[in-house]
């Protein structure tokens, strides 16, 4: 039996009240739910992770069955959160498993009124072309007085504070290597 708390609430509602819900599921509901939770992760693989929301750094455990995420909860070993999570951290599962989640690359042509689905590789190549074109058209080598610049201010990169250190490193390195200096993230605001 795999009944989540939410399924339980649905059943309760459909049965016209708490009592109806209880009778529909039987009298020993609490142990059954506890067992359901245990069953859900019994055969699962456990992978340590970190909550992606605020900066406290609560450690989490991600449970997967056959490569699919089935549960995410607090890591009891962590000296920060000792297994606890706030409402957002406890909802990290829905960041991953969510019918609203986009999984296709979208493109909107100039002046278009809607999206078009694009191939990932085509989109990446087009972005690389645009970065090169704009850089080459706007690159400043020197100021009139000879001061070296080696930069363009016509390309702006924004974002990064919820992203990994490793990404921040290669992203700023790539951009500075190209001479793109307008690099910013949420830390500014």
């Amino acid at each position: 039996m795999t009944v989540s708390r939410r399924d339980f609430l649905k059943i309760s509602g459909a049965s016209g009240g708490a009592l109806g819900g209880l009778s529909a599921l039987g009298a020993t509901l609490a142990p059954a739910l506890a067992r359901a939770q245990e069953l859900r992760i019994k055969e699962a693989k456990t992978t340590p992770s970190v909550c992606p929301y605020c900066s406290v750094g609560c450690a989490t455990l991600v449970h997967t069955v056959e490569g699919k995420i089935v549960n995410i909860e607090g890591d009891p070993r962590s000296p920060h959160n000792e297994g606890t999570l706030c409402p957002k951290g406890a909802a990290t599962y829905q960041l991953h498993v969510n019918p609203n989640r986009p999984t296709q690359v979208l493109h909107r042509a100039p002046g278009a009124t809607d999206w078009e689905v694009w191939d990932l590789d085509r989109a990446m190549s087009r972005v690389a072309e645009l970065v090169k074109k704009t850089r080459d058209e706007t690159f400043i080598e020197r100021l009139p007085d000879g001061t070296p610049v080696n930069a363009t201010t016509a390309i702006f990169s924004l974002g990064g504070a919820t992203l990994d250190n490793e990404w921040n490193h290669i992203h700023q390195k790539l951009l500075r290597g190209l001479g793109i200096v307008a690099i910013e993230n949420q830390a500014r605001i």
Binding site: N100, A123, V181
Partner: protein
């Protein structure tokens, strides 16, 4: 203060709650009564934007208190650990004597014609703020600081204050700095005479006397007049704080963006630092000033700066506005001779080696010539002004949502002028669809056909589908492992940037243009060793963290164990000196450690993750011991001198064998110039700064200014708001004048536990939207009665920029203030809503303005004005 910790960092708030169960007192100073206030022993309500008046009152209370004036503990801190005895230039004139303006105020004339968007309304020449007999340049030394100064972290002097004088272009009086490597001669050439000092603290020009005079008018009565907090309540806070400070007790300040989002944010934090140094609450367990940062790795993205103003480890970004034409000039401009930052040449050369590897040689200044220079302020606000002026053609938007950000209508209008926009995100958020679903499009005011922007949306992997490290608010790196593959075309962020880089490398491979040479030589190979991983097209995150950590240039298998091993001759490669040590051997990723201290033996938890610098959990912890190196008390024991070495519960923050009795070498550079009792080793003089002679552009002492928009006149000075704040005069960005009757109400904005930022990571999530479905505005019963508003009515909130609609939440959590005899109403709004997601609502940030602090260019979202009326 400046934080609603229970709401926004709830799991961390468990620890103050545990401390409370052990007898600690929690004080919450905040404009609103919040979830944090509900748990506090004292809630002191102050008007939004009056923090410095409150903190200044605390400083004045402490300085006048008999216990503080008589106890040896405080005297030692003042004389030996702070810069109180140092003599300031006789040219210095305080804001107290000049009606709110310090000496040196000038009309702003910085910047270059290529970038006229720096936003300053005025600027200071800070020469007169320096210690007597030590002034060298227009605005003094520019060394990177280590203290957190708001959400952007440390700031150098902004890149154009006093720029013309500092650029030195064509100035024959400025001799070329000594070349290198080695750069010892260059560092030595920067040596200044040590500051003069008065150990009796009686000289009227010593820091202590200046500070005393500066805060003398910040009396309890003045605190009440400016902040609206009743005098008795203020005194209760002051007494509690002082009572809980001393050898046996420590107090900590905790803040978040409610201290940074002001036109004088760094000065608010600086005022808390001043107070904490006076109270001996630095470098000790349970002490300090804690920045509660808002994003999982915002600390990491500041350390590894995807921020325009700095490069790795808080080194200043090369700039055309400073004398930075060559590596030697850059080092002469950015290095200081005394304190730990004398090692800057080692950090910089090792960074350049990480960029260009073997192509970075002694003969080409380690590739410095290829490094780009900034032209001015390229931060968030001026970049959107530039975009609206069509100076910006393309934007890479990766995990941020400006369509709901500051003066959001203006930012959306600017995005519509881009040639191309790349959005990479987990959700199709407001910035991805601004051309389609923004309110101005829905209303017909703007037609999608007229927006000529080419827009891309790349779906992202989520955290458990990627491997890498976050740096959390406590400077701790924690590794997250990959649990599952992302679905469909979702890709990790690393994959995206690595693939973009590889494609650009191919596009530039055959170029013969000189300006492409640097990019051609840039090291950008992070391919995984395993073929199965290589086939997926992403990089190996371990290889990246290894490059950040550093290794011997001649043998990349020999990792560096700490920044003490860095050299300035190119023999070490290290992207980030502050992260050096996180990966001390090829098989030791210390960020991935998950070993808590054994039960009952909890200490520094040094085997859980890795905190920069050097896995140190409390910075400046030499201060946890007295002059002789003994713990101040058994209860607050942390780091101590055992007769031959520094030891304790943490990695000591001092030269490990430098004895407490070591004398400062008057001719020495680096750490030799500091004595064995000077704990603040990142400062040039080893002291905690009560008075800030260099590094801030808006004054050496915190001073109460009104926000850029305020219903009241500044009760303390004729100068209404900061004379050097940043304001971008631009269409759609007007400000209300002081006391404008059209905008009589103060508004503050904030976040809720159940949502995150503008909602991209929470309003698509049914569980969270069920908990907090709808936008609201908190209104006091008094204001509601005055405006004829009942609970749950729809109301309209209008600022000079925009108007939004929200449901009224009439609550006693908000209250009117009496400020200088005038009743001031204040409202509060969360800003999590937008026009995409499972639940939607108006964009509250449309109300805010492009107005900012001059040090760090952070906007003023925590206090501005509006009009609230029934919709």
């Amino acid at each position: 203060m400046g934080s609603n910790m229970a709401e926004n960092h709830p799991v961390a708030f468990r620890w103050p709650m545990k401390a409370k169960m052990n007898g600690a007192k929690i004080i919450h100073v905040d404009p609103r009564f919040t979830r944090t206030s509900a748990m506090a022993d004292i809630h002191a309500h102050i008007r939004a934007g009056s923090d410095i008046a409150f903190l200044g009152g605390l400083v004045n209370f402490v300085l006048d208190h008999p216990r503080w004036n008589s106890e040896p503990f405080f005297r030692t801190w003042l004389l030996e650990y702070s810069n109180a005895p140092f003599i300031v230039s006789s040219d210095f004139q305080d804001a107290e004597d000049r009606d709110g303006v310090f000496s040196g105020l000038l009309e702003y004339k910085g910047g270059v014609t290529e970038w006229p968007l720096n936003g300053f309304v005025g600027s200071y020449d800070g020469k007169s703020w320096q210690y007597a007999g030590t002034a060298t340049g227009a605005t003094g030394e520019p060394a990177a600081q280590t203290a957190k100064s708001g959400e952007t972290g440390p700031s150098n002097r902004p890149h154009d204050a006093g720029a013309a004088a500092d650029r030195g272009t064509g100035d024959p009086r400025r001799a070329a700095p000594p070349p290198g490597p080695p750069f010892d001669a260059l560092v030595r050439s920067l040596k200044k005479p040590p500051p003069r000092r008065d150990p009796t603290l009686q000289d009227p020009r010593c820091v202590f006397q200046i500070v005393k005079r500066h805060f003398a008018r910040y009396t309890p009565e003045m605190v009440e007049r400016v902040t609206g907090c009743p005098k008795d309540l203020f005194l209760k806070v002051a007494e509690t704080l002082l009572e809980n400070s001393g050898p046996d007790r420590t107090s900590a300040f905790v803040y978040a963006v409610a201290w940074t989002q002001h036109t004088n944010g760094p000065q608010i934090i600086g005022c808390a630092a001043l107070l904490q140094i006076l109270l001996g609450n630095m470098g000790r367990p349970g002490a300090g000033i804690m920045a509660l940062r808002g994003h999982a790795s915002i600390q990491g993205s500041t350390d590894i700066p995807t921020l325009y103003h700095s490069i790795h480890g808080y080194l200043g970004h090369p700039s055309v506005l400073k004398r930075h034409r060559t590596l030697a000039e850059y080092l002469a401009s950015e290095t200081v001779a005394t304190g730990y930052y004398a090692n800057t040449p080692k950090f910089m050369v090792s960074y350049l080696k990480s960029m260009w590897g073997d192509a970075a040689t002694k003969d080409n200044g380690f590739g410095y010539g290829w490094h780009p220079r900034i032209l001015g302020d390229h931060s968030h606000l001026p970049m959107f002004v530039a975009m609206d002026e069509r100076r910006v053609k393309g934007m890479l938007l990766i995990g941020q949502n400006p369509a709901t950000s500051i003066n959001a209508r203006l930012e959306r209008r600017a995005m519509g002028k881009l040639e191309w926009l790349v959005v990479k995100d987990n959700w199709v958020h407001e910035s991805a669809t601004f051309w389609k679903n923004a309110p101005e499009v829905k209303s017909g005011a703007v037609r999608p056909q007229d927006i000529k922007t080419e827009v891309f949306f790349f779906p992202s992997a989520q955290v458990a589908e990627e491997e890498g490290s976050f740096t959390n608010t406590q400077r701790m790196l924690q590794w997250h492992f990959k649990a599952a593959e992302p679905p469909g075309d979702c890709r990790g962020d690393l994959w995206f940037t690595y693939q973009l880089g590889k494609r650009l490398k191919a596009l530039y491979a055959s170029s013969t243009a000189a300006r492409d040479e640097g990019f051609q030589k840039l090291l950008f190979d992070y391919a995984p060793a395993a073929e199965s991983e290589r086939a997926k097209g992403g990089p190996d995150p371990h290889r990246i963290l290894k490059e950040i950590n550093g290794f011997l240039t001649a043998d990349p298998g020999q990792h560096l164990k700490g920044f003490g091993e860095l050299k300035d001759d190119g023999s070490t490669t290290c992207a980030s000196w502050i992260y050096c040590g996180v990966f001390p051997a090829p098989d030791q990723n210390l960020a991935a450690r998950k070993q808590p201290d054994p039960p009952g033996q909890e200490g520094g938890q040094l085997q859980w993750g890795w905190a920069w610098p050097a896995n140190r959990r409390i910075m400046y912890n030499r201060a946890s011991a007295d002059l002789q190196g003994r713990p101040w008390s058994e209860r607050k024991k942390w780091v101590w001198w055992d007769g031959s070495t520094w030891t304790g519960k943490d990695t000591p923050d001092f030269a490990i064998t430098r004895s407490p009795s070591a004398k400062a070498d008057p001719n020495g550079i680096g750490m030799d110039a500091l004595s064995g009792t000077e704990p603040f080793i990142m400062k040039t003089d080893g002291r905690g700064w009560l008075f800030v002679p260099t590094g801030l552009v808006d004054g050496p002492l915190p001073t109460h200014y009104e926000p850029a928009e305020s219903p009241v006149k500044n009760p303390l000075y004729k100068q209404q708001s900061s004379p050097v704040l940043k304001y971008w005069k631009h269409e759609g960005n007007s400000l209300a004048g002081t006391g404008d009757p059209a905008f009589p109400h103060v508004i503050t904005t904030y976040r809720l536990t159940e949502h995150y930022l503008a909602g991209a990571m929470s309003r698509w999530n049914p569980w969270l939207t069920e908990l907090q479905p709808e936008l609201f505005v908190e209104i006091s019963p008094e204001l509601a009665a005055a405006q004829g508003i009942r609970n749950l009515d729809f109301v309209r909130i209008t600022s000079p920029r925009a108007s939004v609609r929200a449901k009224a939440l009439v609550t006693r959590r908000l209250r009117p203030f009496v400020i200088d005899g005038k009743t001031v109403h204040q409202v509060g709004m969360p800003w999590h809503w937008g026009y995409e997601g499972v639940v939607t609502g108006d964009v509250v940030n449309e109300l805010t303005a492009l107005v900012a602090d001059p040090n760090v260019s952070i906007h003023e979202g925590k206090s501005f004005v509006c009009r609230v009326e029934k919709a």
